[in-house]
């Protein structure tokens, strides 16, 4: 996985080294950011954590925000990279969807701190970089859109063309809320039950009766 498609300037020439160092930076930063938030994490802490000097850190990024981009990008990629290969579009559209939902929701459960982080710190990005993150989220949404479209074509699902996108968003947000509403949900439901219930109700809406 290439961590950053987004161009971030670096004064170092060796592209490979940049890649290596940036991975180290992200590894160090992601924990700190998730634990303490972006603003409360200092550059010094990040440098210390991955065992390099502040000066060196600044050879590979330009500003603190660059690290945030790297980290957001990393989280997004991680989610996408773990969902995508597991998702299959089979003939049994309902089953495909149920599987995809389960995979996605389980990953959210696993990475819930990261998901919450994304919800909260995206705003610290500049307008341009925020758009970049949204694009990434749209890519993720497209996975569900594809399954839905396929199901509609197959007449397994009955969704108005125009509403497919909305349904895909609903599916994703109902997954993400497992993380950002955990204070209410996780004390009332187990993950398994949550997945089952949400899956069922989503299918209910879109299945032809």
């Amino acid at each position: 996985m290439s961590i950053s498609k987004k161009e971030i300037e670096s004064s170092v020439k060796d592209k490979e080294l940049i890649e290596i160092r940036r991975k180290e930076i992200v590894n160090a930063a992601v924990d700190l950011f998730v634990r303490k938030g972006f603003h409360r994490t200092t550059i010094r802490e990040i440098a210390q954590k991955f065992g390099m000097s502040v000066g060196t850190l600044y050879e590979y990024i330009r500003t603190k925000e660059d690290i945030l981009i790297l980290v957001c990008d990393y989280i997004n990629s991680t989610v996408r990279m773990r969902v995508k290969p597991s998702v299959e579009i089979t003939k049994d559209s309902a089953q495909s969807l149920i599987n995809a939902i389960e995979i996605y929701y389980r990953i959210i459960d696993e990475l819930q701190d990261y998901i919450i982080f994304l919800y909260q710190e995206t705003k610290s990005l500049s307008h341009e970089n925020r758009k970049y993150i949204f694009k990434s989220e749209e890519d993720m949404t497209a996975i569900f859109e594809d399954i839905l479209k396929h199901g509609v074509e197959q007449k397994s699902f009955k969704i108005e063309e125009k509403n497919i996108l909305l349904t895909a968003h609903n599916i994703m947000v109902q997954g993400q809320m497992w993380a950002f509403r955990r204070w209410a949900l996780q004390k009332n439901y187990t993950l398994e039950r949550y997945i089952e219930t949400q899956s069922k109700s989503i299918l209910e809406q879109i299945t032809t009766h």
Copy 2:
């Protein structure tokens, strides 16, 4: 509406004046916070905006976080105070729910910047204050729970007892996502269509066929 049920210390004795000044503070802060975020907004800017000195500001709060509490509380109260009186539980449960959803979603649309702000800055609160905000969100959720419960009692809705809470959360989050996913949703749907579609699909799941 009383802005703050939460006790925040003040060195001013006149309770009424505190109420007045805090409203001014909130008014000044909410815009700045929403526009620039909590961390990037300075105390001086807030004081300047509401036309008083920094010293005066600090007569009515103890720390910057107090202002954040005031603002979060204000947003929550505003939403709740505007939804609650309009919501009726009538015999026609389905219609009650549709009405409540419309009211809630329209307010979210109106206050979308504030909703997003809540999603993003709650984390800047201390643990204790965060819990307080969650409590407030649970109060809001209870409004939908009540409608659902009533519908279930009336046999209009068919929801397992255990799932009523989850359904209420789904309804709320599907409203809130109109704000925090506006980058995707608002360019593809009008508010009216959004409300209609979401209402319909929610009802679909819970209505006995």
Copy 3:
């Protein structure tokens, strides 16, 4: 006892009221000053403690330093007022001195926090006011000088004229150190033993053999 011979301006006309209020101020301030130090005590705390408004407080003083003067003066007066009436110059000079030492040292023990305060906060006074406090200390010293002089005249003591003053200072400082070196002395000696030992050694030096 008139608390303050030093002129401190007041916007209040009623001299008697000034006297009363200033006593209240001193009462409130002395504890706070002694406990927290002059700088760390705020005007607000003082006003609160004696149950009046900051505004009223400022009717009776001009600056915070004025309160410090009042307090220093009060402590000095208290010590002097309690020593003076008990001190007698009798024919038995040695006994007179021993008595005076005991009285003085016992008061120091009783007011040790105040004595330490004087040592530490005198420096916060302006030059002029500091001189005023020194004057007060000289008055106190004079009490011992008188006893010594009398003893010399009576041939009970043998001290060079020029050294009488120095001896008086020694006596006083050896008393005060009971307070400001308490961290060392009070864990090794009882007050009684301290008084006895110091008295004896002082007498030893000045008694004709």
Copy 4:
């Protein structure tokens, strides 16, 4: 002389540089503190005086109190380092003591502003750090205790075992009062006369007749 045995954190790694910079800090601070007092001296002034930025200053200390510790420690060390090598315990105990007193009192005269400073600002230290300073003063006291003990062993002095400590404290305080009572003493005595008189009277008390 190593300035600080007490551990004070620093974000700088180079131990030697820390030592150098802290000496600079102490040099800059000591004058300001002595002249204006601890509270009235600002961090900015100190930084300015030793020609560095506030930020740099804070690389070498954690709080303003740290500077006070450094300064108190420095003064104490300076006195001790200058007294100790000059003090000898010879067979002639009386002469040893007279010499030690002279050395100590002369240093007090030289560093009188510093001595007064110690008397006044120790209170601004936290409890723990205050204890550290007291310890330092006890070390100094021990020098005189040793001389006295030796003299007692040699039968030159006649002091009850229990009173040796007290005598040592008396000697020290009678030296220090040359500084903190200078407003009275230094206009009536020369340093030479002061030393001579005090020495003589101390010896008088402890010499066997």
